[in-house]
């Protein structure tokens, strides 16, 4: 087999393996059990999407897909840090309300 053919088969295998990984990640996203687990699963799925789109870029030869992969990576980091911030804020609010409850008792 020539090198381009092998590369083509490798992209097919990569896309197949990544689809299985996506399904496992979605299973964890559904199962939870907590919000933090879901945020983690979402973060992993965006990282997988970066790899998936990079494999598509190799397969089709369109280098424009690379820019899409990089911007999805950016978006994933931004959303993870925003959601972690939300989780932290929620915890702080709950602790503050608990402390207030103790004082009033």
């Amino acid at each position: 087999m020539s090198a381009p053919e092998i590369l083509q088969h490798a992209t097919t295998a990569t896309l197949g393996i990544l689809i299985v990984a996506f399904l496992l990640g979605i299973l964890r996203l559904i199962r939870g059990p907590t919000l933090a687990d879901r945020i983690l699963a979402l973060d992993m799925i965006t990282t997988l999407a970066v790899g998936f789109i990079a494999a598509i870029a190799v397969r089709t030869g369109f280098s424009l897909y690379l820019d899409i992969a990089i911007s999805i990576g950016l978006l994933g980091f931004l959303s993870t840090s925003a959601l972690a911030r939300y989780l932290l804020r929620q915890a702080e609010k709950r602790q503050a309300s608990e402390a207030q409850g103790e004082i009033s008792q």
Partner: protein, 116 residues
């Protein structure tokens, strides 16, 4: 010759990256608590996507595309640990307990109290 060689190498790296990504997904599904899952997702996940991007850099053989792919890898390696750290910190503050088989919790020893 060089082009064919870099394509063979790219094919190999791409499949290895995909297997790393699959291992990350299996870890996220199977490991017992949030912190160990995070360890799987942020290490194996970043390496998996990074290897596929490296394969793209090798296979394209085009200067600007290679540069952008390498920049993407650097960005991924820079942001994934930061994101995982932010999430772990938020989860610990929110009171997520590590799994019962965890042997040592340094953060608890430092603050001297159990997280609420």
């Amino acid at each position: 010759m060089i082009a064919a060689l870099s394509q063979y190498l790219a094919a190999l790296l791409m499949v290895i990256g995909a297997v790393f990504s699959l291992l990350a997904a299996v870890g996220v599904l199977r490991l017992p608590d949030l912190y160990t899952r995070m360890h799987a997702a942020s290490k194996a996940g970043a390496v998996g996507a990074g290897l596929v991007l490296l394969a793209l850099a090798l296979a394209s053989g085009d200067g600007p595309v290679t540069l952008r792919a390498i920049l993407g890898i650097l960005f991924l390696l820079l942001t994934t640990p930061v994101g995982a750290h932010l999430l772990a910190r938020a989860a610990y503050r929110a009171g997520h307990q590590p799994a019962s088989i965890t042997i040592i919790d340094d953060l608890q020893r430092e603050t001297g109290k159990t997280p609420e």
